[in-house]
C-alpha cells in the first residue's frame, strides 16, 4: 500500500510540476501577480510529494519488501541496515529518484528563503526548476519506475552489487547529486534573467551563494568518489579519467569558472553575458553527465543496467534543455547591457584568464570523453581515450592557471600593478627557487619534472598565504595590529586563501605520490617479507572472515619499522554468495600523510598469493587539499556579505526586505 502511495505521490508531483512550470511563466509574461505567486507553493508541495515518494521506496527497502521489483534486484534481507538505506540509490531507478528529490529540495529552498527576490524573478526561477522537474519526473514514471511490483514475490532478494556495499555509496552519490543538481539553480537564474531581459550586480549576488553551495558539494562528492575508488577497486589509483568521472569533473570545472566570473559581475558589473553563458554551460554539462551515466552509452563502473529507451528519453531532455537554453541565449543575450571596463592587467583580467583556461581545460575533457562516441557513430571504429590523452591536454592548460592563481587576488580591480603584486609574492618566489635547488640536489635531474611540480605546489601554497599576510600587514606592523586586521577581513577573503591553498595541497599530493611511490607486485607465502617505503611487511597467515552476504579470507600482515612492530594490516578476498562475485578489500594504513596500501590476488592452495603493495608518499594530501578547497568555499558562503539582502533593483514596485 505504501509503495502504491509513493507511486501515486510521484504522479501528483509530476502534475504539480507541470502547473508550477506553466502558470508562473505565463504570469510573468503577462504581469499577472496571482499566477506568479503560484510558484513557491507549487515548488514546496512538489518537494513534499517527492520526499514522500522517496520515503516510500526507502521503507520498502528497510522492510525488505520483495514484492517490489527494485528491492528484489538490489537488496537482500541479510544486508546490513546502512546498505539497505544506501541501496535505495545504488541502482538506476532509485538514483534518478534521488536526483529529482534533490532538485525538488533546491526548488523548495528557493521558495522558502528567496523572500528578498523580486516576485517576477522568483516566479521565473521556480518555473524553470519545475520544468526541469517535469522532464525528470516524466522520465522516471515512463522508463524507470522504482515502484513496479513482482507477482509472485520471491522469498529473497538478489543483493546489491558487492562493490557498492560500502559506506562510500551512502555518502558519494548524495553529495555529488547535491552538486550536480545544485547547478540547476544558477541555470534557472540565468534563464530567468534572459526571459526577463534584465541582469545586474544584484542578480550575481543571488546566484553566487547557490553556485558556491553547489560547488562545495560537487567538490566533496568528487573527492569522496575518488577516495572510494582508491580503496575499493584495489589497485591504488585515485583518478582514472573514466568517462563517468569526467562527467562529474566537467561541471566542476565550469562551476569553478562560474564562481570566479560571478565575482567580477557582482563587484564590477562586467562579464554579464559570459556569466550567464557559464551558468547555462555548467548545468548543461551536469545534464550531459546524467545522460552519459544513465543512458548506458558508456561501459563503466557507474553504469547500471542499460536500456535504450532510457537513453533516447534522456537525450531528448538533454536536447530540449540545452538546445532551448542556448537558443534563448542567442536570441536574448544582446539585450543584456554590458558594463564595467577594465585593463588587461587587473583583478578582472586575472579572473578572465582563469575563466579562459578553465573552460579550455573543460573543453579538452569534453573532447576526450565524447570523441570515442562520435567516432563510433560516424565511422564505426571503436577507440578508447585514456589517461595519456588527458595528461597531455589537461595538464599543460592547468600549469599557466596555477602560476597565475597567486597573482589574481593581489591585483587591484580595474587597473592592477603586476610589478607590485610580484613584490608581494617575493617570499613565495624565494621558496619556489629553494624548492627547485634543494629538490634537484636531493632527487637528481631524473626527477626534474617532479621537482618542478613540487615547486608549483609550493608556489600555490605560499602564494595564497602571501596574499593574506599582505592584507593583514604581517611582520610589517605590530602583531596585535595584524590580528586586528585579520579579524576585520571578510570571511570571503579567508575563503579565497583557503581554496587556493587547498589547490596547492592537492597538487603537492598528486606530484609526491606519483614521483615517490613504491609499487610491488609479488608472490608471497606465509613467513615471507617485503620492503616498501622504509618499512617491512611480513605475511603471517590467513584467517577466514564472513559477514552479511559474503565469506572470504583475510591475510594478516605485520608491519615493522627498524625491527619494531608498528601496525598490522588485513586485506581480504571476499566472495559474495548471492551474486557469486569475488571482491578485493584492500588494507590501508596512514603514516603521517603517506599511506601503505596492500591488496590481495588469488590465494593458491599452498598458501602462496599474489600481493600488491604500495607506498604512496603524501597521497592523503590529494583529498585533504580538496576538502580544504571545499572548506574555503563554505567559509566564503558564510560571509555576511552574501547573506544580506541584495540592494533593491531600481524602478521596481516590489519591496525587497532586507534580512
Amino acid at each position: 500500500m505504501i509503495v502504491e502511495l509513493g507511486h501515486y505521490a510521484l504522479v501528483l508531483a509530476l502534475a504539480l510540476s507541470i502547473a508550477g512550470a506553466i502558470l508562473p511563466l505565463y504570469g510573468a509574461l503577462t504581469g499577472d501577480r496571482r499566477l506568479m505567486a503560484v510558484a513557491p507553493s507549487a515548488s514546496l508541495i512538489v518537494l513534499v510529494f517527492v520526499a514522500f515518494s522517496f520515503g516510500a521506496l526507502t521503507h520498502a527497502y528497510l522492510v525488505s519488501d520483495f514484492s517490489v521489483r527494485n528491492v528484489v534486484e538490489n537488496s537482500h534481507s541479510l544486508k546490513p541496515l546502512i546498505y539497505k538505506i544506501s541501496g535505495v540509490w545504488g541502482n538506476h531507478e532509485g538514483s534518478m529518484l534521488l536526483w529529482v528529490l534533490i532538485l525538488a529540495l533546491f526548488g523548495g529552498l528557493v521558495a522558502l528563503f528567496g523572500n528578498n527576490l523580486p516576485l517576477k524573478l522568483k516566479a521565473l526561477v521556480l518555473a524553470v526548476q519545475s520544468a526541469i522537474g517535469t522532464a525528470f519526473l516524466a522520465f522516471i514514471l515512463a522508463t524507470s519506475n522504482p515502484f513496479l511490483r513482482l507477482d509472485p514475490a520471491p522469498a529473497q532478494g538478489r543483493d546489491l552489487n558487492p562493490v557498492l556495499q560500502d559506506i562510500g555509496l551512502a555518502i558519494h552519490p548524495p553529495l555529488l547529486y547535491l552538486g550536480y543538481v545544485g547547478c540547476s539553480i544558477s541555470f534557472a537564474f540565468a534563464i530567468a534573467a534572459l526571459i526577463d531581459g534584465r541582469i545586474d550586480a544584484a542578480w550575481a549576488r543571488w546566484v553566487r551563494p547557490w553556485t558556491l553551495a553547489a560547488w562545495v558539494f560537487l567538490t566533496l562528492g568528487i573527492t569522496m568518489g575518488s577516495y572510494w575508488a582508491y580503496y575499493e577497486l584495489g589497485w591504488g589509483g585515485w583518478w582514472f579519467w573514466d568517462p563517468v568521472e569526467n562527467a562529474s569533473f566537467m561541471p566542476w570545472l565550469a562551476a569553478t569558472a562560474l564562481l570566479h566570473s560571478a565575482i567580477v559581475m557582482e563587484k564590477r558589473d562586467a562579464l554579464k553575458i559570459w556569466t550567464v553563458l557559464l551558468a547555462i554551460l555548467t548545468f548543461s554539462l551536469s545534464l550531459l553527465g546524467t545522460f552519459l551515466v544513465r543512458s548506458g552509452v558508456l561501459t563503466s563502473v557507474h553504469a547500471f543496467a542499460s536500456d535504450p529507451a532510457r537513453g533516447v528519453f534522456i537525450l531528448v531532455i538533454l536536447c530540449l534543455f540545452i538546445g532551448g537554453s542556448f537558443s534563448l541565449f542567442a536570441l536574448r543575450a544582446g539585450t543584456l547591457a554590458q558594463g564595467g571596463l577594465f585593463a588587461p592587467i587587473s583583478r578582472e583580467g586575472a579572473l578572465v584568464l582563469n575563466n579562459l583556461l578553465l573552460t579550455a581545460a573543460c573543453a579538452t575533457v569534453l573532447t576526450g570523453t565524447l570523441y570515442p562516441l562520435a567516432l563510433e557513430a560516424v565511422t564505426g571504429e571503436k577507440i578508447s581515450v585514456g589517461a595519456p590523452f588527458f595528461d597531455m591536454t589537461f595538464g599543460p592548460l592547468m600549469v599557466p592557471l596555477m602560476i597565475a592563481v597567486p597573482f589574481g587576488p593581489l591585483l587591484a580591480w580595474k587597473r592592477g600593478d603586476l610589478y607590485a603584486a610580484a613584490q608581494r609574492l617575493f617570499a613565495a618566489f624565494v621558496l619556489v627557487l629553494a624548492t627547485i635547488v634543494v629538490g634537484l640536489a636531493l632527487a637528481g635531474t631524473s626527477k626534474a619534472l617532479a621537482v618542478l611540480g613540487l615547486a608549483l605546489a609550493v608556489w600555490l601554497i605560499t602564494g595564497s598565504l602571501c596574499e593574506i599576510a599582505f592584507r593583514v600587514k604581517l611582520f610589517r606592523a605590530p602583531l596585535d595590529e595584524s590580528l586586528r586586521r585579520a579579524a576585520g577581513l571578510p570571511r570571503a577573503a579567508f575563503g579565497t586563501t583557503l581554496a587556493h591553498l587547498g589547490l596547492g595541497l592537492t597538487v603537492l599530493g598528486i606530484v609526491a605520490s606519483n614521483a615517490w611511490n613504491t609499487e610491488l607486485i609479488t608472490t608471497m607465502k606465509p613467513g615471507d617479507t617485503v620492503e616498501a617505503g622504509g618499512r617491512s611487511l611480513t605475511l603471517d597467515g590467513f584467517l577466514p572472515v564472513s559477514g552479511g552476504t559474503y565469506s572470504g579470507t583475510a591475510a594478516r600482515f605485520t608491519v615493522r619499522e627498524g625491527g619494531a612492530v608498528i601496525a598490522t594490516l588485513a586485506p581480504e578476498k571476499r566472495l559474495y554468495s548471492v551474486q557469486n562475485m569475488p571482491t578485493t578489500e584492500s588494507a590501508i594504513r596512514t603514516f603521517g600523510l603517506s599511506q601503505l596500501y596492500v591488496s590481495l590476488g588469488d590465494i593458491k592452495p599452498d598458501g602462496a598469493t599474489v600481493v600488491r603493495v604500495y607506498w604512496k608518499t603524501l597521497i592523503t594530501l590529494i583529498w585533504i587539499g580538496a576538502v580544504v578547497m571545499a572548506l574555503g568555499g563554505a567559509l566564503s558562503l558564510s560571509d555576511r556579505r552574501l547573506r544580506v539582502g541584495a540592494p533593491k533593483p531600481a524602478r521596481r514596485g516590489a519591496a525587497v526586505p532586507a534580512e
Binding site: 562493490v163 573543453a363 585514456g386 590476488g601
Partner: protein, 156 residues
Amino acid sequence: MTRKQRRLTLIGLAGLVLASAVGLILFALSDGIAFFATPSEVASNPPPPERRLRLGGLVEAGSVVKDGTEVRFAVTDGKAAIPVHYTGMLPDLFREGQGVVAEGKVDGAGLFQADTILAKHDETYMPKEVVEALKKSGEWRPEAAAEGPAPETVTR
C-alpha cells in the same frame, strides 16, 4: 589603452588559449588513444607494433598459465585466438570462458603484451565491446547474456 585595444587584447588572449587547447587535443589524439580490435582482426591484419590496442573477447578455456605474477592466456572470439602476456594482478572477475578486454601492444613475435586487463561481467554479463566482437564472428549466444548490474574490475 583604448577600449578597442582592450577588446583586442582579450580576444587575442582567448584565441591563444583556444589555439593551444586545440593543438594539444590534436597532438594527444594522434598518440594517446587505443583502438578496439577483435582477435580475428588482429590475426588477419597484424597492427604496427607501436599502436595501442584494446583486444576484446573471451578468455580461452584451458589457456591460462600463471607463473607468480606473470600470466599468459589467449583471447578468442571463436575464429581466432591471440596469445596475451601480462604481469601483475588479475581483476577479481577474470575467469576462463568469460569476457575480457586487454589493453596493450602486439610485440614483434605476435604476442600481445597487455598492461591493463579489464574484466567486466557477472555470471551473465559481458562488456559491450566483447558482445559486439562475438556478434561479428557469429559466436554470440544471446541466451547467455541477460540484463543485469555490471560490476567492473580493472587491473593495471
